[in-house]
């Protein structure tokens, strides 16, 4: 089954998130207080390496396993939408100290309270779906 390979990449992701300490509520507070370079180092390195990899994949016309070219569907630029959505997300991120990826990872570590955070995230997702026509996009 193909999904097994995605499961395996997920395991790698969970280990990287844990050992990088990016899942730590304390690291997130430290980041937003500018008291350590750690999180900026992680995100910066990840972006630079990923950008180089994607640039190289496009440059050398590397095909994906499904035979397609490496591409990205750009979003329509909307300043109010991106700023508002980003700010709402940021409020939650700094409060619970974890973004969606780390939520799953922390659950695996036995922090069961994060299950409630995920319930909240599902409610938030559903609420957006219900009121999206009334929001600036």
């Amino acid at each position: 089954m193909k999904n097994i390979s995605f499961f395996a990449v997920g395991i790698l992701f969970g280990i990287v998130m844990t050992k990088s300490e990016a899942i730590s509520w304390y690291r997130i507070q430290e980041m937003f207080r500018f008291e350590s370079f750690h999180m900026y180092g992680i995100i910066g390195t990840a972006v630079i390496f990923s950008a180089l990899i994607i640039w190289a994949m496009k440059k050398f016309k590397m095909r994906t396993l499904s035979g397609t070219a490496v591409s990205y569907t750009p979003m329509k630029l909307s300043l109010p939408r991106h700023l508002l959505a980003g700010s709402i997300f940021g409020l939650g991120w700094a409060l619970v100290g974890c973004c969606p990826g780390p939520m799953y990872v922390l659950l695996g570590q036995g922090y069961w309270i994060i299950g409630l955070v995920i319930v909240g995230a599902l409610l938030g997702t559903f609420t957006y779906g219900q009121m999206r026509q009334r929001l600036p996009h």
Binding site: N3, F6, V9, G10, I11, L12, G14, M17, K19, S20, E21, I23, S24, E30, E35, S36, F37, I42, T45, A46, V47, I48, F49, S50, I53, M57, M62, T64, L65, T68, Y72, L79, R81, H82, A85, G86, S87, I88, F89, G90, L91, G92, W93, L95, V96, C99, G101, V105, L107, Q109, G110, I114, G120, A121, L122, L123, G124, T125, F126, T127
Partner: protein, 199 residues
């Protein structure tokens, strides 16, 4: 004579906290693998997929998606759960997360002891604040999750989709979204959270 209690060799090497550059490279490896496998790195869409699986598509066409296209993402996040277990319990760091002294002092000033506030002593989640026995903690967990879920869907992506994938594809909308993450995050971390913790 000293007793050797720590695991030795490669496992011990992996069990140390990773340098930020190694961590960033690890994330980039995940981005590469997912891109090579014909997908893109994005975690928050799994929330939409779970809503759809729970039947939200019957009430709202936004959730009317082909679930088969999302199986890979569910497999990926379930892998994340297992990876978290391995990372924390089989590759346990010898010490709790080494946050900076000034953060420790700030946390103490708002009543959060470090690392004592994490019952697992890993330095990951302040369970003294977020636990099932505290109404305030329950509400904070639920509200924080709600904001993350709502904001991620409204902005069509979270840290993985925008801050990593989007920036790596040099997307301006992603950069603006990341600026938003910091507007909201700084406001919460500096103004709201200290007040909430002191309540």
């Amino acid at each position: 004579m000293e007793l050797i209690s720590q695991p030795q060799g490669f496992l011990a090497f992996l069990s140390q906290p990773w340098h930020w550059a190694a961590s960033g490279a690890g994330i980039a490896l995940v981005v590469f693998l997912l891109t090579w496998m014909g997908r893109s790195f994005g975690v928050s869409t799994s929330f939409k997929a779970i809503c759809a699986a729970a039947g939200a598509g019957k009430r709202n066409e936004f959730f009317n998606i082909n679930l088969k296209d999302e199986f890979w993402r569910i497999a990926f996040v379930l892998g994340g759960v297992v990876g978290g277990f391995i990372g924390a319990h089989l590759l346990t760091s010898p010490e709790p997360v080494a946050i900076s002294q000034s953060t420790v002092e700030y946390l103490a000033s708002v009543g959060v002891d470090y690392p004592g506030s994490d019952a697992q002593n890993l330095g990951f989640v302040p369970t003294s604040v977020f636990n099932f026995g505290s109404l305030k903690g329950l509400l904070m967990a639920l509200a924080g999750g709600f904001l993350v879920g709502f904001g991620a869907r409204y902005g069509d992506g979270c840290t993985s989709g925008h801050a990593i994938s989007g920036l790596a594809h040099l997307q301006l909308p992603s950069l603006i979204t990341v600026i938003g993450f910091f507007i909201g995050g700084l406001f919460m971390a500096h103004l709201v959270l200290p007040w909430l913790l002191a309540l």
